[in-house]
């Protein structure tokens, strides 16, 4: 138990470190004293100074919401990955396998390409793409779950089928797109936290709590539906509830941020290595580690090529890929670490 507590303290410290590092870095340089004054004013400790206006604007309306969204999205992907692996009894499962991300992408691309047909009124326009992405995510997951809920093995295959279908449909729409639409949709697919604002940050915590309530049940379902049943659980119902929560959380995340891969796969594995497979530890641990991964990837995305940005999805892949390789080699050496 002591080693697990140590691992949690370590993780929390890394999250804090990543947060502070993010807070102090950016294309707009904010002197330390100004930052202290702005944060103090925001907390009501001191009065806002007029000369700090632009610092306050960048810090409170650009940088802080972005940090929060990075944490929220990273945490969502992390615990969603852990929950998926438990619910599907497969250590290689991740949120993308449910067709959630590709469904969201299909929704967004369809909205962009068919926008002229769908919306005549321009006042709806800013919401069309994120809403379509969210609907796409929820719909594709619903199809996968409806087809394959009774058996976790079929679930994976159905997810793969839906992913392939969505991929083809996206390809078709891309071939129909004009120049302007093409720019918008490539832009959407690469993923970014740049449009973060405060209103997006609240959603994931509640959904996370729903998943966490099933932590013990998830432990039992890893033994199989029958054993879970012997232990008094309705494994199918647990799976349905957890998958629904994951689809909502990931759908919302993807709709805000676009495609961000690998976090949901890598975070639970690393946490598992640190503190075992119990979901009561793995779910919060994966959430913390997911937040760290996305914070670091976004730090790189917004500072390496400043004043321009790099795509977040590519950077999480660059961070996550080597982790996964290391993990695969490790599995070969130690056997069954996942």
């Amino acid at each position: 138990m002591a080693s697990e507590a140590r691992a949690f303290v370590l993780l929390a410290a890394v999250v804090m470190g990543a947060l502070v590092w993010n807070l102090f870095s950016g294309a707009f340089s904010i002197p330390l004293d100004a930052m202290v004054r702005v944060l103090g004013a925001a907390l009501g400790v001191c009065d806002p100074a007029q000369e700090d206006r632009r610092f306050a604007l960048v810090l409170l309306d650009v940088r802080l919401p972005r940090l929060c969204l990075a944490c929220a999205v990273g945490a969502t992907l992390g615990f969603s990955g852990a929950a998926m692996q438990g619910v599907l009894r497969n250590p290689l499962a991740e949120p993308g396998l449910l067709g959630t991300a590709s469904g969201a992408a299909l929704g967004a691309v369809a909205a962009i390409v068919l926008e002229g047909v769908l919306t005549r009124r321009h006042d709806f326009a800013p919401f069309v793409v994120p809403v379509a992405a969210f609907l796409g995510a929820v719909l594709s997951t619903a199809v996968v779950v409806a087809v394959a809920l009774p058996s976790s093995a079929t679930l994976l295959l159905t997810g793969i089928a839906i992913n392939a279908l969505a991929g083809s449909a996206i390809g078709l729409l891309i071939s129909l797109a004009n120049d302007e639409q093409l720019r918008s949709l490539t832009f959407w697919m690469i993923g970014s936290l740049a449009a973060a604002n405060w209103s997006q940050c609240g959603i994931v915590v509640a959904i996370g709590a729903v998943v966490f309530r099933h932590a013990l049940a998830l432990d039992a379902t890893t033994l199989g539906d029958d054993v879970a049943g012997h232990l008094g659980l309705d494994a199918v119902a647990v799976r349905g509830r957890v998958l629904a929560a994951v689809a909502l959380a990931v759908g919302a995340g993807v709709a805000f941020v676009g495609m961000v891969g690998f976090v949901g796969l890598v975070a639970p594995h690393l946490v598992c290595l640190m503190m075992g497979a119990r979901h009561r530890l793995v779910l919060p641990g994966s959430a913390l580690l997911g937040a760290v991964l996305v914070l670091l990837a976004d730090l790189a995305a917004r500072t390496i090529a400043a004043p321009t940005e790099l795509p977040l999805g590519i950077l999480t892949g660059l961070l996550g890929g080597p982790f996964l390789l290391w993990l695969l080699i490790h599995v070969g050496v130690r056997g069954g670490v996942s």
Binding site: F28, L182, G258, T308, E309, P311
Partner: protein
């Protein structure tokens, strides 16, 4: 099936070859396919709108014309069969069009191919008009159109140049990501320079996603934004709500200029008018 298609193509090509000399003497049977938005505009502007028989998907103007024309492909993938299906005698395209074999094959089949260089300088708008006009056999119309463009581009004589050049941010796209803005070596920057406006962002070339903090740091006096991008973000109000665009002078003093795709990205016959519009909006002259 393939064999029949091939035979048909060959027959069509032979026909095209047969009537090609006639076409020179008598312009009526000319059938034109344009494979880019700005080229389509030039063709229409030079008075050949009713000769167009096919366009690509990037052709959006003039809308009433392109709406009824068959689309023979997307900007980066043109299907040779779709082009041949409208039996053109002339194809107008950029020299960097993909796949490159398409144009060569069309040439082999006897279709007159007019290639236009793609460059992102203001000079390129003139070049394109002249090249297309020459290909259509109406060089004098091209000269007139270029003269009209030049009139719009030139700083009005007798009016003083501004004391302070304003700094503009050119926004190409936005959605739920960073702003995609024009950096160095872009048509948009070149047009800004003609209108005596500086680019508010530096240090990169082409169109790149801009970090919101960098947008705040740039603090632009003017925002030039494509019409579709402004619609997608929810108008001027939505624009002001974008991270990093909180309160630069452009937003506070409502200096937001709506730009047209074809003028600022494609560089075509409307480029001159767009520059004039920009100049008038920014400096009032």
């Amino acid at each position: 099936m393939g064999a029949i298609r091939f035979c048909l193509c060959t027959v069509m090509a032979v026909c095209a070859l047969a009537i090609a000399p006639l076409a020179r003497a008598e312009p009526s049977p000319m059938r034109i396919v344009s494979l880019s938005g700005s080229l389509t505009e030039i063709v229409a502007e030079l008075g050949f709108a009713d000769r167009l028989v096919g366009v690509d998907r990037s052709s959006l103007r003039p809308p009433e014309l392109v709406r009824r024309l068959p689309k023979v492909g997307s900007p980066r993938s043109v299907s040779i069969e779709s082009v041949l299906a409208v039996s053109p005698t002339m194809v107008i395209a950029y020299d960097d069009m993909q796949p490159t074999e398409t144009l060569a094959k069309l040439g082999d089949l006897g279709v007159v191919v007019i290639l236009v260089m793609r460059r992102s300088s203001v000079e390129s708008a003139r070049e394109k008009v002249l090249r297309v006009a020459e290909g259509l056999g109406v060089p004098e119309k091209g000269q007139a159109l270029v003269a009209a463009i030049d009139r719009d581009l030139a700083w009005p004589s007798g009016k003083p140049k501004p004391d302070r050049r304003l700094r503009a941010l050119f926004i190409q796209t936005m959605g739920n990501g960073p702003l995609m803005v024009a950096g160095g070596n872009t048509a948009a920057e070149a047009l800004m320079a003609v209108a005596e406006v500086d680019n508010a962002v530096h240090g990169f070339e082409a169109y790149r996603p801009l970090n919101p903090e960098a947008a705040a740091a740039a603090n632009p006096d003017v925002i030039i934004i494509l019409r579709r991008a402004l619609e997608r973000v929810g108008g001027e109000e939505g624009l002001a709500a974008m991270p990093g665009l909180g309160e630069p002078p452009a937003i506070c003093e409502h200096r937001i200029v709506i730009a047209d795709d074809s003028a600022f990205i494609g560089l075509g016959p409307t480029t001159g008018a767009s520059v004039r519009h920009l100049r008038e909006a920014v400096y009032g002259r």
